[in-house]
C-alpha cells in the first residue's frame, strides 16, 4: 500500500499541514486579525508601564511577551483543543483508523499554522518596537535561535500532551483552553519578569516551557534584563532541552494511553458531550 513508517508519517504531517496553509491563503481575513489585533493588548500594557514611568525594559518585555502569546495561543487553541474540534466534525475517527502516529497529525497542524503564527509574532514584535521605541540588542544570534527552537519544541510537545486529554473531553475542552490562557500569562511572566512571582512560584511555572523561554529571550534582547532574570541563559537552555525530551516522551505515552481510554469507554467518537 505505501512506504515505511517514517515516510508514511512524514506524508501525514504534510497532508495535515496542507489545510492550514491553504486555509490561510483562501481566507485572507486572518492577516488583519493576526497582525493588527494583538497589538491592542500589547499597547494597553505598554501604556500602563508608560503611565507609571516604568523602566524602558519593562515596555520591551510587554512587546516581547505579546509576540510570544501567538505561540502559546496556537498551542492551546490550534493544537491542544483541535482533537476535540476534529471529533465534533467527524474527522477524529478517520485520523484514528489511519496507520499513522497521532503526533504526526498534531505536528502537521502545528507546522501548517506556523506561518500565520510567525506572522503574528513577528508583526507584533516589529510594530510594537516601532510604536514604543523598543530597542532589541542581539548579542548572540546562535544562542537566540537555540533558545527559541528549544522553547518551541518543548512548548509544542506540551501541546501534544494536552491534545491527548482533549481527545476525551467534551465541551470542557473549550473552557479548559479558556482557563489556561490568563493564568499562564500570569504564571509564565509574559508581561513582567517571572522572578517577581517569588522563587517557588517561578520554579513551578518553569515546567511551562515558555516561562524559561521568555526569561532567556529577555536576557538576550535587553541589556538591562539581567537584574530581572530568574536563572542564567545557559541553565534555562539546558532545562528547556530537558523539557523537550520530557514533553515529547510524555506526549507519546499520553496520546497512546488516552486513546486507549477513549476506546475503552467509547468516548473517542462520542460527539456533543
Amino acid at each position: 500500500m505505501s512506504d515505511g513508517w517514517v515516510i508514511r508519517n512524514l506524508r501525514a504531517i504534510k497532508g495535515r499541514a496542507y489545510p492550514r496553509i491553504i486555509g490561510a491563503k483562501r481566507e485572507p481575513s486572518w492577516l488583519f486579525f493576526e497582525i493588527v489585533l494583538p497589538l491592542f493588548t500589547v499597547a494597553a500594557y505598554a501604556y500602563v508601564y508608560q503611565f507609571m514611568d516604568a523602566r524602558d525594559e519593562l515596555i520591551g518585555y510587554v512587546v516581547l511577551g505579546g509576540a510570544m502569546t501567538a505561540f502559546w495561543l496556537n498551542v492551546l487553541w490550534a493544537m491542544a483543543a483541535q482533537f476535540y474540534w476534529e471529533k465534533e466534525i467527524g474527522n477524529l475517527q478517520l485520523y484514528m483508523i489511519a496507520p499513522i502516529s497521532r503526533m504526526s497529525i498534531l505536528a502537521g497542524m502545528a507546522l501548517g499554522g506556523m506561518f500565520s503564527t510567525t506572522v503574528n509574532a513577528a508583526s507584533t514584535l516589529a510594530i510594537g518596537a516601532l510604536i514604543f521605541n523598543v530597542a532589541f540588542h542581539i548579542s548572540n544570534p546562535f544562542m537566540l535561535i537555540a533558545i527559541f527552537l528549544a522553547t518551541m519544541v518543548a512548548l509544542y510537545g506540551m501541546g501534544m500532551m494536552f491534545a491527548s486529554l482533549y481527545m476525551l473531553f467534551g465541551r470542557e475542552a473549550h473552557h479548559l483552553s479558556n482557563l489556561m490562557t490568563d493564568p499562564v500569562y500570569l504564571a509564565s511572566g509574559f508581561f513582567f519578569p517571572v522572578k517577581y512571582l517569588g522563587a517557588w512560584a517561578a520554579a513551578g511555572a518553569s515546567f511551562i516551557p515558555i516561562t524559561l523561554g521568555l526569561d532567556a529571550l529577555r536576557q538576550m534582547f535587553f541589556t538591562g534584563a539581567a537584574e530581572d532574570a530568574f536563572l542564567s541563559i545557559e541553565v534555562e537552555l539546558l532545562i528547556l532541552l530537558g523539557l523537550c525530551v520530557v514533553f515529547l516522551i510524555l506526549a507519546h505515552y499520553s496520546l497512546r494511553y488516552m486513546e486507549y481510554l477513549g476506546k475503552a469507554t467509547g468516548r473517542l467518537t462520542l460527539r456533543w458531550q
Binding site: 500500500m1 512506504d3 506524508r11 501525514a12 483562501r26 489511519a98 496507520p99
Partner: protein, 327 residues
C-alpha cells in the same frame, strides 16, 4: 494478503456503562457475537437502529475496545495489533461530514490519502480515475462545502477506497441518497470486488433490496446478538415453509387480535390515515389461518381492498427473526 479470514469475531461483547448513575443502566450493545468473514466476500449486516451494527464496525475498525471476546482482521488482533489492522482497512459512514469545507474535492481526497502514506502521484491518479467512475470529474476543483449530499457521500466513498484497503467497512453508505446516487455507489462496490477478488467489503444497511442485491452473505443482528447468518437465498428458504399474506383493509379498530391466531408467525401493520387504510402483512405457517384472518377483518366491519400472497423476501426473513420491521 494471507489465507486468514478477513474478519473473525469470537464471543465479542461490548457493554457501555453510563458516566453517572442518573444517566440510566448499562447498555449491552453486543452480546457474545461470533462471526467469520472470508476474503473476497461482500458481507452484509442487517439490523434495526440500536442493534449493534455500528458498535461492531467500530470495534473492527479499532475505534472501540470490546468488553470481552476477540476480533481479528486478517489475523491481527484489533486490540493489541491495531497498527497492523489499520494498514489493512478503511471505513466510510453514511451521512459523513468529514474533511474540510474550504478544501476542494481533490485536495480533501489527497489529504486523506497522505495519512496512508500514498505517493502523491499515485494518489492523484486514483483520485482522477475514481472521480470519473462516480461522475464527479467536474467537481474536482469545487470546494467541499458546495457539494450536495449525494456528491459529498460519493466523495466519502472515494476517500474510503482510494487507499486500496484489503477490507473496507461501509456503515450505511447510501443513507439518505437518491436512487441514482445509491445505484452508482452499489455498482462501484460490485465492480471493485470484481476487479479485486481478494478484497472484502463489510456493509451495514437498512435497505433490504441493497443487502439482497449486493451481499454474498448477510448477518441479521438485533439487541447485540446475531440472529442468523447465511446467504440471502438460504435465509429466504428458512421462511419458504411460510406464506406471506399482504392485505389492505379499511381502517381497523383493533389489530392486536391477529397476534393470537394460530398459524400466524408474525405480522406487521401500518396505517395510512389519508387513504383510510390499514396495511397488514402476515408471515404464516401454511395457509390454514387465512380464513380466520379474513373473518376477523370482516367481523370488525372493515372492507378488504386488496389481498396478495407473496414469496418470502429478505424483509420477511427480517420480520420473522426480529419480530418487527426496520424503523
Amino acid at each position: 494478503m494471507n489465507h486468514e479470514p478477513a474478519v473473525k469475531v469470537e464471543s465479542l461483547t461490548r457493554v457501555f456503562e453510563p458516566k453517572k448513575k442518573k444517566e440510566g443502566k448499562s447498555v449491552r450493545a453486543l452480546d457474545s457475537v461470533d462471526l467469520q468473514i472470508e476474503q473476497g466476500e461482500l458481507f452484509g449486516i442487517l439490523g434495526p437502529n440500536g442493534a449493534g451494527k455500528t458498535t461492531l464496525l467500530k470495534i473492527l475498525s479499532t475505534l472501540l475496545l470490546p468488553t470481552s471476546g476477540k476480533a481479528y482482521i486478517a489475523g491481527f488482533d484489533v486490540e493489541s495489533q491495531f497498527n497492523d489492522v489499520r494498514q489493512k482497512i478503511n471505513m466510510v459512514s453514511g451521512g459523513e461530514v468529514s474533511g474540510y469545507g474550504l478544501l476542494t474535492v481533490k485536495e480533501n481526497l489527497w489529504m486523506f490519502s497522505q495519512f496512508y502514506g500514498i505517493k502523491s502521484k499515485v494518489a492523484l491518479q486514483r483520485i482522477d480515475d475514481m472521480l470519473k467512475d462516480f461522475g464527479l470529474s467536474d467537481k474536482k476543483d469545487a470546494k467541499v462545502r458546495t457539494l450536495s449530499t449525494g456528491q459529498r457521500q460519493k466523495m466519502n466513498i472515494i476517500r474510503g477506497f482510494i487507499t486500496d484497503p484489503d477490507i473496507i467497512f461501509l456503515d450505511e453508505p447510501t443513507l439518505g441518497l437518491d436512487v441514482n446516487a445509491s445505484r452508482v455507489i452499489r455498482d462501484f462496490i460490485l465492480q471493485w470486488l470484481k476487479d479485486h477478488p481478494t478484497k472484502t467489503v463489510v456493509l451495514t444497511t437498512h435497505y433490504m433490496v441493497e443487502a439482497d442485491e449486493l451481499c454474498d452473505r448477510i448477518a441479521i443482528i438485533d439487541n447485540g446478538k446475531i440472529l442468523a447468518c447465511d446467504t440471502p437465498e438460504r435465509l429466504k428458504r428458512r421462511v419458504q415453509m411460510n406464506t406471506t399474506l399482504s392485505m389492505d383493509v379499511t381502517l381497523l379498530k383493533d389489530t392486536t387480535v391477529f397476534r393470537t391466531f394460530e398459524g400466524v408467525e408474525s405480522f406487521t401493520f401500518t396505517e395510512d390515515g389519508e387513504k383510510g387504510l390499514t396495511k397488514l402483512r402476515f408471515v404464516m405457517r401454511g395457509e390454514s389461518g387465512v380464513s380466520d384472518i379474513i373473518s376477523a377483518v370482516l367481523g370488525q366491519g372493515s372492507r378488504i381492498e386488496s389481498l396478495q400472497k407473496t414469496e418470502p423476501t429478505l424483509e420477511d426473513v427480517f420480520i420473522k427473526m426480529v419480530g418487527k420491521g426496520l424503523e
